[in-house]
C-alpha cells in the first residue's frame, strides 16, 4: 500500500449550527489527479475549505506528506504544501495579474530571481496571462481569471493543488482549455485534487474519484470504473 500524500479520516465540520461533513474518509495518491464529485451542498467545497484551513474541522484526523496536520491554520497548511484555488476564483480586484500571482508566493519570501522564474513558468503555461500581466486581474474573462487563479496556486510551489469548481459559470469551450492545462500540470508530477460539478469533465480528467453525498463518501475507485457504474450514471448523469 504506497504512502498517500494526503489522508483524511472521519472528518466532521460545520458552519455554525449546520453540519456539512459527517465523517469523511479520503486518500490522495502522489502524482495522480483525484476528483471529488457529488450533488451540491454535499460538502465538496467545505472539504477543501477544511483542507486549506478556512473552515475548522470539528472532528477526525488529517495527515499530509507523512505529518499530522489536524487543526492546523491556513498558513501552516500552505507552508506544508497545500494550495487551494477557491470556488469563484476570488482574484484581488485593484491588483494586476502579476501582483495577484506574486501574492501566491507571499509565504515563500522568495528572492527576485526565483519569483521571476516561477512567473515565467506560469506565463508559459498560460501565455494570455503574460500578455495581460499589467491588467487588473478582475477585468479578465471568466476563463482567463480561472487560469490566473490556478497560476496563483502554482506560485506557492505546492505539493498538492486543490481546484474548486473548475467549470462553474464557464463556457464549455473554456472548460476544455483549462482541463488540458491541468492535464499538463499533472504530467509534470504535481498532485491535483479536483472538486467538480460537471461529472463528465471530472471523471475524464482524474484517475481516482470519490463520490460524496451529504458530507460522507458513498463511492470511490478508479475513474473509468465509476464512469460506467450504473448507480453513478443514474445518480449523476441523469436519465441519459
Amino acid at each position: 500500500m504506497p504512502e498517500a500524500l494526503l489522508e483524511v479520516a472521519g472528518l466532521t465540520a460545520a458552519y455554525g449550527p449546520v453540519q456539512v461533513l459527517w465523517g469523511l474518509d479520503l486518500r490522495v495518491m502522489p502524482g495522480a489527479v483525484t476528483a471529488v464529485v457529488g450533488s451540491n451542498g454535499a460538502g465538496k467545497s467545505s472539504l477543501l475549505k477544511v483542507l486549506s484551513g478556512l473552515l475548522p474541522a470539528t472532528g477526525g484526523r488529517m495527515r499530509f506528506a507523512g505529518r499530522d496536520v489536524t487543526g492546523a491554520g491556513s498558513e501552516t497548511l500552505l507552508a506544508a504544501g497545500i494550495a487551494h484555488v477557491p470556488e469563484g476564483r476570488r482574484l484581488f480586484r485593484g491588483l494586476s495579474v502579476q501582483d495577484n500571482l506574486l501574492l501566491g508566493a507571499y509565504l515563500r519570501r522568495a528572492g527576485r530571481y526565483e519569483l521571476r522564474r516561477d512567473l515565467d513558468r506560469v506565463f508559459s503555461l498560460f501565455p494570455i496571462l503574460g500578455q495581460r500581466r499589467r491588467q487588473d486581474a478582475t477585468t479578465l474573462s471568466g476563463g482567463e481569471q480561472q487560469m490566473c487563479a490556478i497560476g496563483r496556486g502554482l506560485m506557492a510551489r505546492p505539493q498538492l493543488l486543490m481546484v474548486d469548481e473548475l467549470s462553474l459559470g464557464l463556457a464549455p469551450r473554456a472548460v476544455d482549455l483549462l482541463a488540458d492545462a491541468l492535464r499538463s500540470i499533472s504530467n509534470e508530477g504535481l498532485t491535483i485534487l479536483l472538486v467538480e460539478q460537471d461529472v463528465l469533465t471530472a471523471l475524464d480528467l482524474s484517475s481516482e474519484a470519490y463520490v460524496v453525498e451529504t458530507g460522507r463518501v458513498v463511492a470511490s475507485g478508479r475513474s473509468e470504473l465509476l464512469a460506467d457504474d450504473p448507480r453513478i450514471r443514474a445518480a449523476y448523469l441523469g436519465r441519459e
Partner: protein, 255 residues
C-alpha cells in the same frame, strides 16, 4: 399574436465597452426561449435591462404592448415580469415561508399578510420544501435555496419568468428534478426565458434558442439549427461538445 416581450435595438454601455449591442427580439406568450452564450457575453446584463436593474443606453423594452424601458425593478415585478438571480438572493434571517410570503404579498398583490402566507405555504409544498418551511433561508442547502427562489418567483404570479442560471451548481440528477419543475411552470402558460450554460437543460426545455456573443445576437432558431450553426460552435460550444452532442441528440427524448 402580439408578442408578450419585444426588445427593439437594445444597447447598454458600461464605461467604454458595449455589454449589449443592438439586440432586437420578440417573445410570444407561452414560448420557452433558451438564452445561451459564453461567459461575459452580456446575458445577465440583458436580463438586468429587461427587469429595470440597469437603464438601457439605447433602444426600448416593450412588455405586453407597453414601453417599460425606464421601469424600476419593483414595477417590473408588479407587472408580472419576474426573474431569479444567478447567485441566489434569499432574505437570510427569514424562514423559507416568509421569503415566499414576501413574493406573494408585494408583486403577488395578496390581500393581506395572512393571505400571502397561505399562498406561500402551498407553493413550498409544490416545490418540495414543505417540511423546511420554518428553517431560516441562510442554512438551506444550495438545491433547496434554488427551489426556494423558484417558489418565490411563482408567488409573484409572473407572466414572464427569466430564470438566470437557476441550475448552476446542481448535479445531473438534481437538474432533472429542476427541469421537471420548470416544465410544470411552463405548462401553466408562464412564458420562460432560460439563461443557461447547461446545454442539457436548454435542450430538454427550450422550443427556441437565442445565442448572445460579445453583446450581440448571433443566432436565433430551433435547438437543432442553433447547435449545428458553425459560428455558435466556434464561439461557444467548442468542438468536444459537438461530438458529445451528436451522440446525445440521438439519446434525448423530449416529453
Amino acid at each position: 399574436m402580439t408578442p408578450l416581450l419585444e426588445l427593439r435595438g437594445l444597447g447598454k454601455r458600461f464605461g467604454g465597452i458595449d455589454a449589449v449591442r443592438d439586440v432586437s427580439l420578440s417573445v410570444a406568450p407561452g414560448e420557452v426561449v433558451g438564452l445561451i452564450g459564453p461567459n461575459g457575453a452580456g446575458k445577465t446584463t440583458l436580463v438586468n435591462l429587461i427587469t429595470g436593474v440597469h437603464r438601457a443606453s439605447r433602444g426600448a423594452v416593450i412588455f405586453d404592448g407597453q414601453d417599460v424601458t425606464r421601469q424600476w425593478p419593483h414595477q417590473a415585478a408588479r407587472r408580472g415580469l419576474a426573474r431569479t438571480f444567478q447567485v441566489v438572493q434569499p432574505f437570510p434571517r427569514m424562514t423559507a415561508l416568509e421569503n415566499v410570503t414576501a413574493g406573494a404579498l408585494f408583486a403577488g398583490a395578496a390581500g393581506s399578510v395572512a393571505a400571502a402566507r397561505r399562498q406561500a405555504g402551498a407553493l413550498l409544498d409544490r416545490v418540495g420544501l414543505g417540511e423546511e418551511a420554518h428553517k431560516p433561508a441562510a442554512i438551506l442547502t444550495l438545491p433547496s435555496r434554488k427551489r426556494l427562489e423558484l417558489a418565490k418567483s411563482l408567488a409573484m404570479k409572473p407572466r414572464l419568468l427569466l430564470l438566470d442560471e437557476v441550475n448552476a451548481g446542481l448535479n445531473s440528477s438534481e437538474i432533472d428534478d429542476a427541469v421537471a419543475l420548470i416544465r410544470s411552470i411552463a405548462a401553466e402558460g408562464v412564458t420562460l426565458i432560460l439563461i443557461e450554460h447547461l446545454m442539457k437543460v436548454v435542450l430538454s426545455l427550450a422550443t427556441r434558442i437565442v445565442v448572445l456573443h460579445q453583446g450581440a445576437l448571433i443566432a436565433d432558431g430551433t435547438p437543432a439549427e442553433v447547435t449545428a450553426d458553425p459560428r455558435v460552435v466556434e464561439a461557444y460550444l467548442g468542438a468536444k461538445f459537438a461530438q458529445r452532442q451528436a451522440k446525445a441528440l440521438v439519446g434525448v427524448e423530449r416529453a
